[in-house]
């Protein structure tokens, strides 16, 4: 069995390399985007030029010129900031059914020191397939046990993880769940309650160790090497947020209580039943990364559109909301997740902000990401219309000022097979 897996892995590696070579190179340089409409979160679409230099947006105003720039005519087109998917496994998994191509789920209950950035595969075939829909940056998130690791925010272009690093890393906590795991969960109600209590106890025990460790480590430098505990020190010290995956109403309330008691700065992720606890989330000012929007309601008694409407309801209640797909190979559906949120009640502007600037704010990288302003990273795309509509075409894509070819395995196969030659003979 291992031989087969090894064989598949080698095979995959070879093919990945081959196909990556078929994709055109990205181009660097000075680019002047002329006569387009530039989107701003405050004013919407405004006719303007935009200049890209040294990977940054260097100017945004009408009638720009630069003799050294490659001019891209954007007449009739719209320029938007690149979209950020706030929760994915992109770069960490290649084929979900082939376990040795998955790098997001380490062994152990407490592994916050596992760094997603380490395992990002810059040559993943999934990356070009997804970015061509205007997604320029994603959070790659480890999964599994209580503390599965540290998520990494990455730009979807680069040859090394370091080149892709977008400047945010966040420890993930899968908050203990009090519900049935699925329809076929055979545990009795009593067993579920006991399991949940046990899990909470484990969490608290670990956290009190982390606090003790931090207290000592804050005073003296030569504490014993303990990666499990040192990885959460910045959180204990209030210097970094903890990303808490929590979905069920009762669990969200328990997580709010836990973060309050432990004075933990939190970002809640998932939050499928946020709409059931709007006041508590708003009161405690906890930012939320929710999604997928294209999802079933969590309970069979729920309204059919519960997952579609959740993000909009939270936004309306004053909660800071970003949207994720929780996807690997179909991160490209991020704009459609946001679009469904709009169809079911979220304002368009808020939905677009939730996949750009709001996400950047939650990750603390709004100085560099999330809007088309001078000095920010040139992560942007040029489209012929509303980026949430499926019939809109992305015409150009820039990541950190690189002009990214709009090619992927999917477009290459289309080019090759639309009119196959030889055909039948």
């Amino acid at each position: 069995m291992h031989n087969i897996t090894l064989y598949i892995s080698c095979f995959l590696f070879t093919l990945t390399t081959l196909s990556a070579q078929q994709i055109q190179r990205a181009q660097n340089g000075i680019f002047l985007l002329k006569n387009g409409e530039v989107y701003s979160h405050e004013n919407g679409l405004v006719k303007s030029d935009l200049l890209i230099e040294d990977g940054l947006i260097s100017q945004v105003k009408p009638s720009l010129s630069n003799p050294d720039a490659e001019v891209i005519d954007c007449n009739g087109l719209q320029i938007y900031p690149g979209m950020i998917d706030s929760g994915t496994k992109l770069g960490l998994a290649e084929i979900s059914a082939v376990s040795l191509t998955q790098d997001h789920d380490e062994i152990g209950e407490y592994t916050p020191h596992m760094q997603a950035l380490t395992a990002i595969n810059p040559s993943s075939v999934n990356i070009p397939v997804n970015r061509v829909n205007g997604i320029t940056t994603v959070l790659a998130v480890p999964s599994g046990n209580l503390f599965p690791g540290t998520a990494a925010l990455i730009d979807l272009h680069g040859y090394t993880p370091k080149q892709m690093d977008a400047g945010f890393a966040g420890v993930v906590l899968n908050f203990p769940r009090s519900g049935k795991k699925h329809r076929w969960d055979k545990r009795t109600d009593e067993e579920i309650k006991t399991d949940n209590k046990k899990a909470l106890k484990k969490l608290n025990k670990y956290w009190s160790s982390a606090k003790s460790y931090a207290a000592i480590a804050n005073k003296k430098k030569d504490v014993k090497y303990n990666p499990q505990l040192s990885a959460v020190m910045p959180i204990v010290n209030g210097e970094a947020p903890l990303m808490i995956e929590v979905n069920k109403k009762e669990d969200i309330l328990a997580a709010i209580k836990w973060t309050t008691e432990n004075k933990v700065k939190a970002i809640f992720t998932g939050v499928a039943e946020g709409y059931r606890v709007l006041d508590s989330l708003a009161l405690h000012n906890i930012p939320v990364i929710t999604g997928p929007i294209l999802d079933n309601p969590s309970r069979s008694s729920d309204k059919y559109d519960a997952a579609y409407a959740n993000a909009g309801m939270m936004h309306k209640a004053g909660i800071k909301v970003a949207i994720r797909t929780n996807e690997t190979e179909n991160v490209r559906n991020l704009p459609y997740n946001a679009g469904f949120a709009v169809a079911y009640g979220m304002e368009w502007k808020a939905a677009f902000r939730s996949v750009t600037l709001t996400a950047a704010e939650i990750f603390g990288v709004a100085d560099n990401y999330g809007s088309l302003e001078t000095g920010k990273r040139a992560n942007l795309f040029i489209s012929d219309g509303d980026p949430f509509e499926t019939n809109t075409t992305i015409k150009h894509l820039f990541i950190k000022g690189w002009n990214i070819p709009l090619e992927s395995r999917h477009t290459l196969l289309y080019d090759e097979f639309l009119e196959r030659s030889p055909g039948l003979k």
């Binding site: 049935k180 979905n247 499928a272 690997t328 179909n330 559906n333 196969l413 196959r420």
Partner: protein, 447 residues
């Protein structure tokens, strides 16, 4: 004495055909996307006794419901050619050939997913056996008559019989890898088919001999072989789970050898590679809009599959295979349009008349035409827009989903002793999840 028997026989066969509720409804002044006869602005559609009786202007109804579709889009009810909702059991994963079993014996009218599919404009689904076996069980085409309590009332009476076949990793894993019986490879899968068809032919010949008086004793009745004979005679149509180009070609070669003319390939992610061969055979393809890379055999996929197949002349549909996806097939069709620039009508065909053709029910549903069944979806915004929202869904002239009367809890079988409710954690269920779809009940660790 004989007469009494016949009397009982008549009673019981009558009892099998459930009385289906039909209704009268007038859908006024909508933009009617007929699919087969263009777009008709500000037009009324009148349904009487469950059938479309008139399409035109200023129609009236004396008795029945009226839907004001001013500013709304009226399209045929969406048809899903691959689904597993409304089923208590999906996989009889114990033998490589289970042609004798039938999901129609396990229909579940209480499944709230039926209502959720209606809330996305879907009126018909092909409730399929799973993909654990090379020759799986027989399937059932159902109408989403949410609210009925009798499983028989879900059946689309008269819809042709269909059977599930499966190629590639799933049957190889379930039988070869797990139980160490053939098939463990794609070679083995071919031989399972050849063996079954040969046995079916022998069985068929034995009955012919008996019926013509050449032999005195009848052959032993065999439920499994009866189904195989049904495939050979064209009475039962194959719907085959498939991914790779080589295995698709293999099955078409086997079918040619046994004179089987009709097949719909399901998923068929590498169909685009053999689109000319599929078109030449006359095979149909029912695909995902963009699912890929969840397993090795779909790593060389493209979201442009539906477009390539359509352009090569293959009748193509978009299916769900998922209780989540079935709720927004109109959006899946829109994505299929994005990848390969299909026209609006070509895209809408992928979820209406084309799946109806694949299920052999296109003379009854799949377009808005006088005489067809009154299955209609009414959308706010064009159904291919991301902002589309189903407003009303009508089955046989009965309004089964009405967004203006849409209570939160739509379950019809609330368990009075339910304690902690099942809570499906979205974090564990993103993307393609075969435990929810075609591999349900197959007890593998495979997603």
């Amino acid at each position: 004495m004989k007469h009494i028997y016949i009397f009982f026989l008549l009673c019981s066969s009558n009892g099998l055909i459930a009385q289906v509720e039909t209704g009268d409804v007038l859908i006024k002044n909508g933009t009617v996307l007929t699919i087969t006869d263009g777009i008709k602005d500000s037009t009324d559609v009148l349904i009487r006794n469950g059938k479309i009786s008139q399409i035109g202007k200023n129609l009236t109804i004396s008795n029945g419901e009226t839907i004001d579709a001013t500013g709304l889009y009226v399209m045929p009810g969406i048809v899903d050619a691959h689904s597993h909702i409304a089923l208590d059991a999906v996989n009889e994963a114990t033998r490589p050939v289970t042609a004798d079993v039938w999901v129609g014996d396990a229909l579940d009218p209480y499944d709230v997913d039926i209502y959720r599919a209606l809330a996305g404009g879907v009126t018909i689904s092909h409730a399929m056996h799973g993909s654990a076996n090379a020759i799986g069980g027989q399937c059932e085409t159902i109408k989403h008559r949410w609210g009925v309590l009798d499983p028989d009332e879900l059946r689309m009476e008269g819809a042709p019989r269909t059977i599930k076949f499966a190629l590639g990793e799933n049957p190889m894993r379930v039988h070869g890898e797990r139980s160490e019986i053939v098939p463990n490879t794609r070679m083995g899968i071919e031989q399972v088919f050849r063996q079954s068809f040969a046995e079916g032919q022998e069985y068929q010949a034995a009955w012919k001999k008996y019926n013509s008086g050449q032999t005195k004793t009848p052959p032993v009745y065999d439920h499994k072989k009866e189904a195989i004979v049904g495939i050979l005679t064209g009475e039962i149509m194959i719907h085959c789970h498939s991914y790779r180009a080589d295995e698709i070609l293999m099955l078409m070669n086997v079918l040619k050898d046994y004179g089987v003319k009709k097949i719909c390939f399901q998923h068929v992610n590498e169909g685009f590679k053999v689109a000319p061969e599929l078109a030449e055979f006359g095979a149909y393809a029912s695909v995902f809009s963009d699912w890929w890379a969840y397993k090795f055999e779909v790593y060389y996929s493209t979201a442009y599959n539906a477009a390539i197949l359509t352009r090569n002349g293959v009748v193509t549909s978009i299916n769900s295979d998922s209780k989540e996806l079935i709720r927004h097939l109109y959006h899946e069709a829109a994505k299929a349009q994005k990848y390969g620039e299909l026209t609006d009508n070509e895209s809408l065909r992928l979820i209406t008349i084309n799946p109806a053709i694949q299920l052999g029910i296109d003379d009854r549903v799949g377009s808005i035409e006088v005489g067809k069944e009154g299955d209609i979806a009414v959308f706010k915004n064009h159904p291919l827009s991301i902002y589309a929202r189903a407003q009303y869904t009508v089955v046989d002239g009965v309004i089964r989903f009405d967004s203006t009367h849409d209570p939160v809890d739509m379950r019809v079988d609330v368990d009075p002793e339910e304690g902690i409710p099942a809570f499906i954690d979205s974090a564990k269920h993103s993307g393609h999840n075969c435990e929810e779809g075609c591999m349900q009940g197959a007890h593998t660790h495979q997603h």
